[in-house]
């Protein structure tokens, strides 16, 4: 089952998020991640949903989302060129000079930042697509992970593809 990313422009109203989340649970659709926040226009929210399913199911998901009264427009990012980013905050056990040096080096390799330090932990901030974060977690696997907080995917299409209220 292929991974699909759907971007939604939706009225920024109380309950809009639960309408979308409720649709996925009521109809038994997969949901890998969902992010939402207001846009430059405070009356609009932008949502990014990562889901998976057969071609027919993804078609249905898009139709059902479009049917929600609050949804203004949607686009499947994975239909074309796009950029996806996810933020992860990872708390690692970092004790002893050798370990601390190794974790610092790994964090640099992945272009992460250590944003909090005490005598025995680091917090690494990492941005990238899901694969990159998976790869970092694999690299530090089993050793020292205390906590992982991932934001879920946000995405945007490249070039002239975009979602806005006016364009039809």
């Amino acid at each position: 089952m292929k991974r699909h990313i759907i971007s939604i422009l939706i009225e920024n109203e109380a309950g809009a998020l639960s309408r979308v989340a409720g649709l996925f649970s009521a109809r038994g659709y997969n949901i890998e991640s969902l992010t939402v926040s207001a846009t430059e226009d405070p009356s609009l929210s932008r949502m990014t949903i990562v889901t998976s399913g057969s071609k027919e199911i993804i078609e249905q998901i898009k139709k059902q989302l479009n049917k929600l009264i609050d949804v203004i427009k949607l686009m499947e990012l994975t239909d074309g060129e796009y950029i996806e980013r996810e933020l992860a905050l990872i708390k690692l056990r970092a004790e002893g000079a050798e370990d601390r040096e190794e974790l610092k080096r790994l964090s640099d390799v992945f272009r992460g930042h250590i944003v909090d330090v005490n005598s025995h932990t680091y917090v690494v901030e990492l941005t990238g697509d899901g694969e990159k974060i998976d790869a970092f977690l694999k690299a530090v696997e089993g050793r020292c992970v205390i906590e992982v907080v991932r934001s879920g995917v946000s995405g945007i299409a490249r070039g002239d593809r975009y979602l806005d209220v006016a364009a039809s």
Binding site: I10, E11, A14, G15, S18, R19, G22, A26, E56, E59, Q60, K63, Q64, N66, K67, I69, D70, V71, I72, V165
Partner: protein, 572 residues
Amino acid sequence: MELSGGEILVQFLKDEGVEFIFGYPGGSVLHIYDAMYGQDDIKHILVRHEQAATHAADGYARSTGKPGVVLVTSGPGATNAVTGIATAYMDSIPMIVITGQVPLPVIGSDAFQEVDSVGITRPCVKHNFLVKDINDMAETLKKAFHIATTGRPGPVVVDIPKDITDPSIKIPYSYPKTVEMRSYKPVVQGHSVQIKRAVDMMATAKRPMIYSGGGVVLGEASAGLRQFVRKLGFPITQTLMGLGAYPADDEQNVGMLGMHGTYEANMAMHECDVLIAVGARFDDRVTGKLAEFCPTAKIIHIDIDPASISKNVKVDVPIVGDVGNVLAELNKLLDLSSTKFGKQSVAKWWDQITQWRSRECLAYDRDSDLIKPQFAVEMLHKVTKGEAYVTSDVGQHQMWAAQYYRFNEPRRWINSGGLGTMGFGLPAAMGVQLAHPEAQVACITGEGSIQMNIQELSTCMQYGLPIKIVTLNNRYLGMVRQWQEFTYEERYSMSYMEALPDFKKLAESYGHVGMEVDKPADVEAALKEAFDMKNRLVFLNIITDQTENVYPMIEAGKAHHDMRLMPVRELS
């Protein structure tokens, strides 16, 4: 003019042309009821249970095409209404349900009669609103009516906290004549390329089939459908929800399809090469086993809801649009087409259908000493000349009503097809009778279903509604019993009802007329007597053959050609 929130609601409903509100008062809506006091532009119908308010509004909507309006209080008022809201949602019925809510400052504090009405109803409404500011009241109500009645219709809930209707807070009001929503613009015109492709496909058909549903009724497209079917000369079958949109008595009509459809309709579905679905949604009770649904057919699907297209069955030519508009376009193209359509063009297919028809799948034992339920429905048809509005509950009696009361006009057959709500029939009949005071209104029900909203006999008395309740009383939850006979080796678990009330006396105690018959020879006379009492509600308890089954039957998960027919031994 300066009005309070409660007064705005009442004034708005008047401006919107609402005739009836079906409701029940309670704490959170007292300001609204006070604002309604002393006016007679809108008639408020006081039901005996909030579920009945929603079904009555639903019956009003189904029989008129206008939206039904419901007003209930917060908490249990709202939760009692949920079954009726879900019923309307499943059958795409336009309805506005106004629920009272506890005052804004105490929302979320588990206040007395507080429930998250917006949350509870979210999965079974087309949309819902919580009014948080009196200044939004009129526009929100306008949006609610707009959403409920356009596109694929459906119920809309408007939850109004009590402080919003406070009589001491007044604001200027003017009726919003129009509303613009950037996020909601239903498609109404079908795509011309797809329409042309559809006509080309029809021209190639050797074994065509038209399958129409409730969308034709909702879209007021019955006249367009009749023209379309006659121009083509193809056979047509209807879903349970679509009955009446095409006349049952017309020769091209092969009857209802699906689980209890006719032999000829289901066989023709199985064998057809081009299927034209008009305002129907490929429900599981219609399709049977999906993997074997119309195995040799190319499918054209006309529907206003894009999400209905290719949801259950993959479609070859989708046409999204208002059914009436699309049929008008199709009819135009058919007139211009060089192809000679008509019954003659598919004569061999009609020969095959005639052969299937000769099985007479709806024949039943007419010499029985017991009253056959099919006979009772046929007699009802005879006595009412086929012109009554017929509501039903859910179960065997519903299927017999659909099969044997031959509906020739749309909006006459009113039943809960999608959700299958027992207790729907009597309150729905109230809405129908109020909308059509001079019409004959019959509620075909069973002794199980009628008890689910029997308290409404009291409402019928208060408003003088001369409904004729025709109870096919077999002392069983018949459809459950039938499934237990067929698939559970006759283990009749909980399908027999003991301690039934004396329905005749029960009706009389509410001030109505009660009658009872148990001999076939008495049925017609009893029905005549009942309908001759023009101003009285009559509860006619018909004691029927206890073990009669609904045939034909496609058991769950089987394909169209795999039907169980009436056993021959029962036919004389």
